[in-house]
Symmetry: none
Subunit: 204 residues, 2 copies
DNA sequence: CATGAATGTTCTATATATAGAACGATTGAA
DNA sequence: TTCAATCGTTCTATATATAGAACATTCATG
């Protein structure tokens, strides 16, 4: 015997509601009728109707077929946030914060600070010869990406040391104290991109 | 009467397989038994077992409850790509793909291509005077960020045109056809970062 | 006004996702 | 050895997700 409880858990329900709206939005944006999308995806149009109204609890398979037909992925459809912030932003130099290393030889311009996306930030990094930038550990599981445009840098994390020169990219875990030093004899220039772990996985 | 065809579509099947591995990985990483996770999530342990082996086709509701119990979101669980990435990666210049514009005057070096994180990519962009780079629309809701290091560029999206010069950053929606042109008389150099819409999501 | 071809909705029958129980395998302690 | 506990698997019954058909509505065009 199997007893089954109806489980309209609020979290899940909200997820389904958002999903339905997203599907509807994508479908109408492409000017597709239920029948069209049904034909393209192989999902019954009755199903699509119910999904859009959050009257059912779709299966991974149907979600996969639907998002494929809509040209996206299941993750994207589920994660899609419809805030249609149709904004364009133009930052002037004086708006961009600049950090300096303790020795005054390195400069870190924080370019990519977007309040809507906290888990990725990027910087323009320059260092005079022998300049060293010391960073304490970033939030759990962050990954730092250093792409050197000109010059030669040395990166130390924990007890490991690597060298990176112009044209190369180094990617390393930044949830330890780490430092970057200019070991060349010219000004070094690099693009640094930090990705926070929140977007990958809440740590084990 | 309802005829129903079993549809083990390869795409969907692969997604399910990946999902199963991810669930298993997260569960064991937290040292949870099937029973533990079942108790925490409210999903029958038999279901979890079948999901991990991709012998069933879970519902959005169960995925939601499971990922909640594991401390993540459905998107993250589905999007989680493959195993623990190598701790460190060092890309040489020859590993980095380079795109050229049709007129041959612009160069786009794809620096930040991480297979584990599909929602952010960045590029090193250079353009000779008058060079123009035309891009077709990116996936739904992408945002493109252009930080000019040297020179002066003009960005056209839809019918809007903006100018950006050294030190400035322009941020615009890239889900339309758009183009970037060097309107200065020296080689322009910029860092371009693209963020896909899938990532616009609060909380971790 | 018809009449048809679209649209989205509700109905109905079946395949299947799911919960719970029963099972077998492993471990550890008395 | 026993016994008990705990693991993952497999079985079974039911709730339900799904496909397909029937239905309802709009909107053309004659």
């Amino acid at each position: 015997m199997a007893r089954q409880k109806r489980t309209p858990c609020p979290e899940t329900d909200a997820l389904g509601a958002k999903l339905g709206k997203t599907i509807l939005r994508l479908r109408t944006a492409d000017r597709l009728s239920l029948g069209d999308l049904s034909g393209m995806s192989g999902v019954a149009k009755s199903m699509i109707s119910q999904i859009e109204k959050n009257e059912t609890n779709p299966t991974l398979a149907t979600l996969s077929r639907l998002s494929q037909a809509l040209g996206t992925s299941v993750e994207a459809v589920l994660g899609a946030n419809e805030e249609q912030t149709a904004l364009v932003e133009h930052s002037q130099p004086q708006d961009i914060p600049v950090l300096h290393s303790e020795d005054g030889l390195c400069k870190l311009r924080i370019i990519g600070f977007i309040d809507t996306v906290q888990w990725v930030q990027w910087y323009d990094f320059t260092a005079e010869p022998n300049g060293i930038l010391e960073s304490s550990a970033h939030p759990n599981g962050s990954i730092e990406n250093l792409s050197v445009l000109t010059g030669k840098l040395e990166v130390s994390v924990n007890n490991d040391v690597w060298q990176v020169k112009a044209g190369e990219t180094l990617r390393y875990h930044a949830d330890f104290d780490h430092s970057i030093r200019n070991i060349g004899d010219i000004t070094a220039h690099a693009t640094m991109v930090n990705i926070l772990a929140a977007s990958i996985r809440p740590q084990s």
